[in-house]
């Protein structure tokens, strides 16, 4: 269903008009509603548009092996994931280093778009910021997630699609 919807969204204007001309009013209404609904959800604060425009603010807290942060470098599993997602939007992340709580508070105030801090789905922050679906499991069996600023649902859906397509929660990451 979803692929079809995406395909319909991708239809060129001319094709769409030709198609519309052959349809009855009710069918036309349904297609129009679907077409309008294709770009749902939208962000409440435009994170996706900002990312497409070249700005993606990512907070990263030191939490090896998920996130390794030094004064000059950011590396680890999560920065790699975030960089890969950012590249699908044609943007390079702007990293901000900090402690987990400091970054998550900034995220809640929408000063950041994504926080990578080796968070698990069981974190109490789950009700204050938007957690993605778990995409990897640690050795204790906890699913790991990225955190997004709450209400930025277009970006959230984009990130979750990417995670679904490229990672599996069944993969376990060992502690090093």
């Amino acid at each position: 269903m979803n692929d079809e919807m995406r395909r319909a969204c991708g239809a060129r204007g001319g094709q769409f008009v030709a198609l519309a001309a052959r349809m009855r009013f009710r069918q036309l209404t349904i297609v129009l509603v679907l077409a309008m609904a294709c770009d749902l959800p939208r962000d409440t604060d435009g994170a996706m548009e900002r990312a497409r425009g070249g700005v993606l603010r990512v907070g990263v807290a030191d939490h090896p092996p998920w996130d390794s942060v030094t004064t000059n470098t950011v590396s680890g599993i999560e920065p790699a994931v975030v960089t890969a997602i950012a590249s699908t939007l044609g943007v390079t992340p702007t990293w901000r280093r900090g402690s987990e709580s400091e970054l998550l508070e900034a995220l809640e105030r929408r000063e950041l778009d994504i926080v990578a801090a080796g968070l698990t789905a069981a974190s109490p922050w789950a009700t204050r910021v938007a957690f993605t679906r778990p995409y990897r499991t640690d050795q204790r069996g906890e699913g790991h997630v990225l955190a997004l600023s709450p209400g930025e649902n277009a970006l959230l859906v984009h990130v979750e699609r990417y995670l679904h397509d490229h990672y599996s929660v069944k993969d376990t990451v060992g502690r090093q």
């Binding site: 692929d3 959800p41 939208r42 409440t44 709450p150 649902n153 959230l156």
Partner: protein
Amino acid sequence: MSFGRPFRFPARQQAQRHHAARLSWISIGLLTSTAIAVYLTLGQSEAMKTAWVEDLLGMVPPMVVLGALKLENRAPSERFPYGYFRAVSIAFLITAAVLALAGVWLLLDSVMKLLHGQRPPVGTMTVFGHVVWAGWAMVVALLYCVVIGYLLGRAKRPVADTLNDRALYADADMNKAGWMSEGAAIAGILLIGYGHWWGDGLAAAFISVNIIRDGWVNLRQVVGDLMDEAPTHIGGQELEDLPARLKERAEALPWVRQAAVRLREHGHVIAGEVLIVPCDETDLVGRIERATEMLTKMDWRIYTLTMMPVSRLEGGVMPQQPAASA
């Protein structure tokens, strides 16, 4: 004449009672399914949470109706000489109180979240291997609830009318409030979809106001019932003219000079007293027994009617519309 006789519902009402019981079982089953559907798609949406709570609460009235239908037909006993008809009212009082309190809690919760500006994250769900926005799943679940609630409410109304069943009537009302607020929740989800985060909280607040209104209306009805309010038209505040008709009928008897009637509702049925001033005391006992029987037949709901001869009626009649009923 005996205190101990069980009430026999007329055939039509008896059939409707079975129908009401069946509808209640169907309600419990379907509302369980809607509650599961909403729970599976719940996410972090405030409106969804509120709709879910309303679904769960919606199961209480049918359960209460079922319990009351079972209990009320028990014959009066030494311990409960007036029978078990009030079971309906008591169970209903609990439901109404729970409804009102839950509504208040949900309203506070959603208003607080609105004031704090909490933005509901709605991510994705995997449906048959496809990643879809969870909002769509919510909308589908809610649409299912709307259809169920609409059909249940519409089916219950006529049954409640024939049975004079306030509990069932309010239950139908609750189904209606339910599907309307689930419609509001759909609007809330779509508003989130369009990036208006306040849509969710606003829809939740609207739903909870609906729940509070339900609770309040039911509370008022049931408190009236427990306060021995005169029979009122179902679904309204207006007093019935049954006491006046009984009085008129009694006074039309050639041996009666004056009559006074008071009635109260016990769940489905009506109980009351008739005072009469006879002008001819020949065969008074026999006449009273026959007159009681005649008056009892005027409305199927009349369960116990006590007729008492008196030498005079002081103060004549009661004020037509006591101010307290407003």
